[in-house]
Symmetry: C2
Subunit: 168 residues, 2 copies
């Protein structure tokens, strides 16, 4: 249940912090057989419009899938911190040299041998349609105690977790 006192702006700011901090995500696409297939991706940025950016190669299965069906899901999990973010959105492949220069870092040379001049280097932009996140309200240790209390008193665990849903 969303906190009534939290403004949507606060929730969006927190979403951006979580997405960029957790970094690794699973990108889910629909394959030609209708299967919901996923693979790990490293998040480059959530920009001021809320779009989430990744690097990719043009010659990949995920690009074929995104071009056939723009609907994608992103799943961020930090199990240790009990922080979870999900994004349902629309993805497109973008070839924008200026944006690539903004987002590129040398660590990506592992994947792109010639850096920004690697043939087929591309960006994947995910525009969120619906986002949700869950995280402990009062830090992990307090949450653990709260969950224990919930177990004993039969309260719902919602008392201890912050849960926000954002429709874009």
């Amino acid at each position: 249940m969303a906190d009534q006192e939290t403004t949507q702006g606060d929730a969006i700011n927190r979403l951006k912090e979580l997405v960029e901090d957790i970094d690794f995500t699973m990108l889910t696409t629909v394959d030609a057989a209708g299967n919901l297939v996923s693979r790990p991706m490293s998040t480059r940025q959530m920009d001021e419009n809320g779009d989430i950016w990744f690097f990719t190669g043009d010659d990949t299965k995920k690009v074929d899938e995104v071009e056939a069906d723009h609907d994608v899901g992103l799943s961020y999990l930090d199990s240790k911190g009990m922080r979870f973010v999900t994004v349902a959105g629309k993805a497109i492949v973008v070839h924008d040299r200026t944006k690539m220069e903004e987002l590129y870092t040398p660590s990506l040379d592992i994947w792109f041998e010639e850096g920004l001049d690697t043939p087929g280097i591309a960006l994947l932009k995910v525009t969120p349609v619906e986002c949700e996140f869950w995280e402990p309200k009062h830090g992990k240790l307090v949450m653990a105690a709260g969950m224990l209390k919930a177990l004993v008193t039969k309260d719902t665990p919602d008392d201890t977790m912050r849960h926000e849903k954002i429709s874009c």
Copy 2:
């Protein structure tokens, strides 16, 4: 790229270990608008047939979505350990008291106030169609060094990560 020397049986056994050890996963379903929506779930078991089991309530959005479209995705991420598992599969809702008794633990009382007698308690069974996992071949620290080497020599990072794909 899958290791040629690894048998499919080994890969399936390792998949089961990873799924049950990572535990928390994101379940992705297709909502009525066609969005790929996800939420965190705790894995109960991957059984001897390879089916993956969860508890749920009948009166939930995910059950409505699964009943309208059986295609689901599961995403397991252990970012710290660089272990990633994805499962594309078909989900059904199951009401099997014996199976529930096998899988129920008191920690679930948080969600099901009357335990196995909670109205609407149900199981969600995901039958995998295609699974993939990625993990460091030689433990995390060696992988980090390997990735550094890959960065310098421009080898692909595949040398340091085990990647298996299992079609069921």
